[in-house]
Amino acid sequence: MADPASIETIRAAVEVILPGDGVLPSGADLDVQRHVAELADGYLEGFADMIAALLDAYAAERAGGPFKDLDPAERIAVLRAMASEEIQDLRDAADAVFVFSYGGMYSEWTGFDRQQRALRVPAAWARVGYDGPVLGHPDFRTGDPGPAPDVRQVEP
């Protein structure tokens, strides 16, 4: 499990990647940082703490403070620097923050309980115009995506 301080650091990254768009709330308000940390640790135990440590190390070098205390423009500068690294393991850390942030926001994650297999339609789906799980699209020719999906039924 990631250190709570690490999750706070990752939250500061999610805040600048997914700040909200006037319709959708911010990723941080939807707890996307928990998704990022869980997947990082699921990939390799301790990886979430390592990501946070790297963000802080870059932040210290650039601005002399921990990542979460940087202003948004400085946080972005840190993420851009990490994402541009030649060393694979450093780039992996930045990739994890970006990919898992978007993955948490735009998949079912914000509305899905994996244990109960219960789905609440994520706000992001309505925003982008995605139906979610459907049994089929009888009207595929017209461009009309067809009847409203039965999203209550997650299991096919």
Partner: protein
Amino acid sequence: MTDVIIVGAGGGGPVVAKELAERGIAVRMLEAGPWLDPSKDFSRLEDDMNGIVDGRLRWGPSDRTKPPWMRRRDGAGLILQAAGVGGTTLHYNAIAPRAYPRSFDEWPFPYEELVPWYERVEEFLPVVQVAELSTKDQVFADGCEAAGLKRSDERDCNEAVWRPTHNAILPIATMKAGVPLRYPEVDGCTMCGHCLQGCPHPLGAPTQKKAKRATNVSYVPAAMATGNCEIIANAFATRIMFEDAGGGRARARGVAWRDAITGDEHEAEASVVVLAGGSVESPRLWLNSGLPNATDAVGRFFTMHLQDLVTGFFDRETNPNVGQVTMARADFPGYGTFWAQGYGPQAFAAAVAGIGRGFWDDPSPPPYDFRGRFYGEEAMRTIASYARSLTIVVSTDDEAIAANRITLDPDWPADEHGAVPLVTYHPTEESKRRQDWLCAKAAGVLRAAGATRVHRTDPGVFITHLMSTMRIGSDPATSVCDPSGEAHQVERLFVGDCSALPNSLGGPNPTLTAQALAARTASNIADRYFR
């Protein structure tokens, strides 16, 4: 006693299993991952199914609280492969094109010799050319026509054309208003758009009648129906058992495996062993077993398709979530191929903002308006255009070179299945040139279709379609298997998956060709050892 043990029940292994079992040969097939039930286990949700760390279709053990199986990487980015009965066909698009005939200049036999095996697989799966297009594919087709590409309906491809795809998906079901979307009222593809998450449709259909013809619903049931095939899921092969055959050669005599749930170790003998664990695990297993490797050819000539994504944004709905995920493609022999790609918003967000090299506000030379990844409100507003976007996936004719290879990583701790694989891949300048050419062409198709803005992902080395690490060939210095599919240095050991392909086929999706070659190899096994 088992006659043949097959390691891996992905795209290729079940083809070998069905072909042998039908001939009365007793087959045991080991699969490292779980054996999922499409009707119960395929939720159609992107993160639940496709999550690379803990999705059901990841490369990892069936217990999703455990980490995925480790691959170390040098130059290689994300690797997309799935564990489980069905392997990567569980989440493939099911596009089933043949190789470009011209790519056979690197094969040890002519294209015409593979054609009857293509036909055999195409008839069985079946492979069907789509009869109608969904919106996204019609947009793609309109762009191709406007860009001057001619339509072709042929399976053999020798010139630049666009084609309604030949897919390993049942024909589109007749769906009438008021009739429930369930079997047997509907029979065939319901155009749900969830191909990448594993196909559970039509609802209520028996496994062998599911629309997308992944091997778990096609070759596996057919192999089982013979009564001559046993499948053991959650069985991770750890060692090929062998004996000295003299002259530096070995003779395979069985397989040892570990139960990925209990940790129990097993082994069994067989007359013939077939490797079909994919282009990373097959060389890893060979090297971890200590099999002879005098020419150091094992694991070399790793090819993939150096994929890229080019996305157009339109003033009208394109519905990337509707229909078979790919129903139209364009072919450019000498460069590669590209196709219309339907997917969900998670994959879309990653493609346009999450995984690219560089950032949207970096200078982007034409024909792209922007490239790479981004963040912030601008990124979220662009992602909100999902329903008015069309992504084209580019698949490059990737040069096969010896330096791109699978080895064992000396610097990383072994896992419970032995030393872990190291995937080394650095594209050649020629492969990168072809990729750039295809991306520019894709941008042209999107603009001709009316795109107002065009984005290139430029993901670096994004690995799908892993091929050629155990390739067939006449020269043992540059190939692992002889033209029949049997290892040059190990009697009674064959290869039956994408790793046996001699090159990247010119760019087309490799599964059908790997399956045709696997069917041919199975016939060779039967003729040589079970007459």
